[in-house]
């Protein structure tokens, strides 16, 4: 009982996992790659924010959103608007017919900065907008959907539609948004040239640090009861509801949080890549981001980061050689992952690599492998072994239905209760 009362924020393995990721991101990668490649990794890491949000929202909460690009884009555009206004001072835009407004507005015969662009001159406003605007948008979608009990595949389709609408809106309002080209030619942040090599290195570190903050925040949520309620909700929504929880509020919360993460990723993207365009908002990028999460393992916070890096690295290699085949390869990868190892790389790691690691890795008393079984440390069997045990037990009644008959001898119609398999 003493032990049960002190659930730990992280298990030994998780601490080691975070330390390893920190070493890779903050030391190995920056020391071994040139600035161009480092910047590329920094760009990949911005997608990891989205994948991380999806782990919470989809992996834990069971809410599949196929429109995370919308929030990534909103965050990115908020950042881009600030940078663009800074780059469009009257001096450097004096050849335009209306100096002092962004170039694409001038090209579209707009002679005055729209009122809703005006506040983006202020960095504090832009930074708050990056976090709050997409979260607010997610909140509105969440309230509209989850309060009406729209879920599962219908929710996925609606988020996809929102991604499509958003792209069309941005492209259609060319004069206000830069259209299909997006907002380009971003130069400085408060006078600091973000295109220089030193800026790229610094931004890479800022991005990594922000990612770690989001990771730890997610870890905190998972460790609190909220994290377990999300898992419970995914398994048995009705049971949670009839245990006195307003399920919709929990869904709205986790959806907003994932939107906020995506938006921070989007803003970091704009800073590191130097532009933002609708090609990061629509359906294809949104689905790609789900694939990063699935490949890494939708139940693994760290897996999301590795999955994102790996898929993007493969994308870079592959699309340099066979550019037109990349999308097919990506689709094949997604199908293969979902069919062969639905919990992604993280589950492969748990099954094949973890057992081979030396004893100090798991510690003497910990042994808490499976992420969601992390209750206490009093028994070693809770965790990976138990999970595997479960798989064995669960698979048995399916292959041998006759054993079930003995389990539920009373009435035939209730047999399904005996084979309860999720």
């Amino acid at each position: 009982m003493r032990q049960r009362s002190n659930i730990r924020f992280m298990s030994r393995q998780e601490v080691l996992g975070y330390v390893l990721l920190a070493v890779i991101l903050l030391a190995i990668i920056p020391l071994s790659l040139d600035v161009f490649r480092l910047n590329l990794i920094g760009k990949y890491l911005t997608y990891a924010f989205v994948a991380l949000g999806l782990v919470l929202c989809w992996g834990y909460g069971g809410i599949l959103s196929l429109g995370q690009g919308v929030f990534f884009g909103l965050g990115g555009y908020c950042m881009a608007m600030f940078l663009k206004l800074e780059a469009s001072d009257p001096e450097s835009t004096k050849i335009q017919s209306t100096p002092g407004i962004p170039d694409f507005m001038d090209w579209n015969q707009i002679t005055e900065l729209p009122w809703w662009w005006e506040p983006f001159r202020q960095l504090p406003f832009a930074l708050s907008a990056i976090v709050l605007l997409p979260t607010l948008f997610a909140f509105i979608i969440g309230v509209a959907m989850f309060k009406l009990r729209v879920g599962g595949v219908y929710f996925a389709i609606i988020t996809q539609a929102i991604a499509a609408i958003m792209t069309i809106l941005i492209i259609g309002q060319q004069g206000y948004t830069g259209g299909v080209n997006g907002i380009t030619d971003l130069r400085t942040l408060l006078g600091w040239d973000i295109r220089s090599d030193s800026a790229k290195v610094i931004l890479y570190y800022v991005c990594s640090a922000a990612l770690f903050i989001c990771l730890l925040l997610s870890q905190f949520i998972r460790y609190k009861k909220l994290g377990r309620i999300l898992v419970a909700m995914r398994d048995r929504e009705d049971r949670v509801r009839f245990s006195g929880y307003d399920v919709a509020n929990f869904k709205i919360f986790v959806f907003c949080l994932s939107a906020m993460f995506s938006a921070i990723g989007g803003a970091m993207f704009t800073l590191q890549v130097g532009f933002m365009s609708p090609s990061f908002v629509g359906i294809v990028p949104s689905i790609e981001m789900v694939i990063y999460c699935a490949v890494g393992g939708r139940l693994s916070l760290l897996g999301a980061v590795y999955g994102t890096l790996l898929v993007n690295w493969a994308k870079t290699i592959f699309s340099e050689t066979f550019p037109e085949l990349w999308l097919f390869a990506m689709g094949a990868l997604f199908i293969a992952v979902v069919m062969a190892f639905p919990n992604g790389l993280a589950s492969l790691f748990k099954r094949y690599i973890e057992p081979k690691l030396p004893a100090w890795y798991s510690g003497k008393t910990a042994g808490l492998g499976a992420s969601i079984m992390r209750t206490d440390s009093s028994k070693e069997t809770v965790g990976k072994e138990a999970l595997e045990e479960k798989n064995r037990v669960v698979s048995k009644p399916i292959s041998k239905p006759e054993t079930v008959g003995t389990m539920a001898p009373s009435s035939d119609e209730k047999l399904e209760g005996g084979v309860y398999v999720d």
Binding site: S5, K225, I229, S243, G244, S378, K390, M407
Partner: protein
């Protein structure tokens, strides 16, 4: 509100629900007393489960009223009904397979039920003691750390009953609690129910007549969405209408 309602824990009056014109429950009325174990029996499709769905808010009534301690339930949301003290067990064991038995019970502990409440929720001594206490009642004190998915069917049913008990409901509704259980498990469950009904009212849906005899104070027989007969098991068993539609064949 008439004073009559105050005498009952639950007063269902004129309850009707129709699905596309089909009246699954038709002008149903019944009353449950304080501390009573009421068993609802009836042939398949009589509307038994629908009645529980209506009481706990899962299904919206077309007309009629459900008063729990004088408060109208038909306009409340599911979680609000739970907060008022109504607990519901589903027909198939409905537990969280991926969480441990301890966590299953902890989630049902009636504290920190809002989003931020659940972020601030602390697993303190009070929670742990209550969970261990309940685990002992439902015969699972040695399985607290086991993932619930590993429990046997009967144990899952008990766990779900335990998840309701920890909410301390005033009215407990159980839908076929012994379905799929072995004879030994049934006996244990009957014992369990008799023990936990101290100080609360219980509505049970059950097909197993032996089990019904063991636990019921009063029996309501439903047929085609209506009450066919009501009273002690003895009386109901000898009611010719009941024999015709349900017992005698």
């Amino acid at each position: 509100m008439s004073t009559k309602h105050e005498d009952f824990v639950l007063a269902v009056e004129g309850l009707t629900v129709s699905f596309d014109g089909f009246k699954a429950v038709n002008d149903l009325s019944f009353y449950v007393d304080e501390g009573e174990i009421r068993v609802i029996i009836g042939p398949n499709g009589a509307g038994k489960t629908t009645v529980l769905d209506l009481i706990c808010g899962r299904t919206q009534a077309t007309s009629g009223s459900i008063k729990f301690r004088g408060e109208e339930l038909t306009r409340m949301k599911e979680h609000q009904i739970v907060h008022h003290g109504v607990g519901r067990k589903f027909q198939n064991p409905s537990i969280y397979d991926d969480l441990s038995v301890f966590e299953n019970l902890e989630i049902s502990y009636p504290r920190g039920r809002s989003v931020f409440g659940s972020l601030m929720f602390k697993r303190d001594r009070e929670v742990i003691e209550e969970v261990e206490n309940i685990a002992e009642i439902i015969f699972l004190q040695n399985d607290l750390d086991k993932p619930a998915g590993l429990l046997s069917h009967g144990q899952k049913q008990w766990l779900e009953i335990g998840m309701l008990l920890i909410q301390k409901p005033d009215l407990l509704m159980l839908d076929e609690p012994v379905a799929g259980m072995s004879v030994a498990e049934r006996k244990k469950t009957a014992e369990l129910l008799n023990r936990i009904t101290q100080g609360r009212s219980v509505i049970v849906i059950e097909h197993d007549m032996q089990f019904v005899e063991d636990i019921a104070h009063r029996v309501t027989v439903m047929h085609q969405g209506k009450v066919l007969s009501e009273g002690s098991m003895e009386r109901v068993k000898n009611d010719p209408k009941v024999i015709e539609v349900y017992l005698g064949h």
